[in-house]
Symmetry: C2
């Protein structure tokens, strides 16, 4: 039997399910690019959601990026995100939830020795009229905060 959504994450339940669509991105001194993407938000009856993302090239469907982590309540109107990236980055982010809009900024970006020097990550996720849209802004050592990727996904 499916467990009920934990009351502590009832305000995040609008994210639950599998979403897919297309996104685009750019990065200083690089070409802009398009990608296919899938995001899944699941729960196990516990006070957090499991989050999983993958993106792929629209040309050959080769993998571009993965993200794996958890969304947690952070007190009234607050949300916490912990995330692992295959690039050698572990991210802790915190911020606000207002209705179906989540905005978080990384409070810690921990890197492995061989990781890219990411210094800052800010995410905006919104569900409106059945569409999940998000934007990720990122900074690296020597590259100031810039809009890196954004996408629009629908439930599949």
């Amino acid at each position: 039997m499916e467990p009920a959504v934990h009351p502590d994450v009832a305000n995040l339940a609008f994210l639950l399910g599998r979403w897919a669509g297309e996104g685009e991105g750019e990065w200083p001194r690089g070409e802009s690019f398009r990608y296919g993407e899938e995001m899944t938000f699941e729960h196990a009856g516990e006070p957090y959601l499991q989050y999983s993302q993958r993106s792929w090239s629209p040309d050959d469907e080769g993998p571009i990026h993965f993200e794996r982590g958890f969304l947690r309540p952070g007190g009234p109107g607050r949300v916490e995100l912990v995330l692992a990236h295959p690039l050698g980055i572990a991210e802790v982010a915190e911020g606000t939830i207002q209705g179906q809009l989540i905005e978080v900024s990384a409070t810690a970006v921990a890197l492995t020795t061989t990781a890219s020097p990411v210094t800052e990550l800010r995410r905006r996720i919104e569900v409106r009229d059945g569409t999940l849209s998000y934007e990720l802004r990122m900074a690296m050592r020597d590259i100031e905060l810039t809009s890196h990727v954004w996408a629009r996904l629908t439930r599949v």
Copy 2:
């Protein structure tokens, strides 16, 4: 078509697949406990492995813990792990790989505001004679490094 394992993670390929079994754990001032567990190591032809773990109560199969992250090569004989925990912890760990034995220590443990005050994590993973055994040692503020959980899993 399944992509080939990326040569940079060929030395981690012994982990690929789904493993399940039982573990036990203890924690200062708490009772010892047993749990069921599943670990999955996947790849997408890229120079990292995707890692996913879940554990559950042997009594009611209720969820106990999840881990989601990535294993990366860290140069000759070295391995890197980035991991998200639902408890509000993001972990970066680095260490050694010798044959089918991996030993890593967290170089960063980043916490959300509401997370448990974990300060240190050390992992040992070994595959021998078809059995994956691991041990996790953990420290928290005011609790010194102690063996927390260990398990033996077989391929399923």
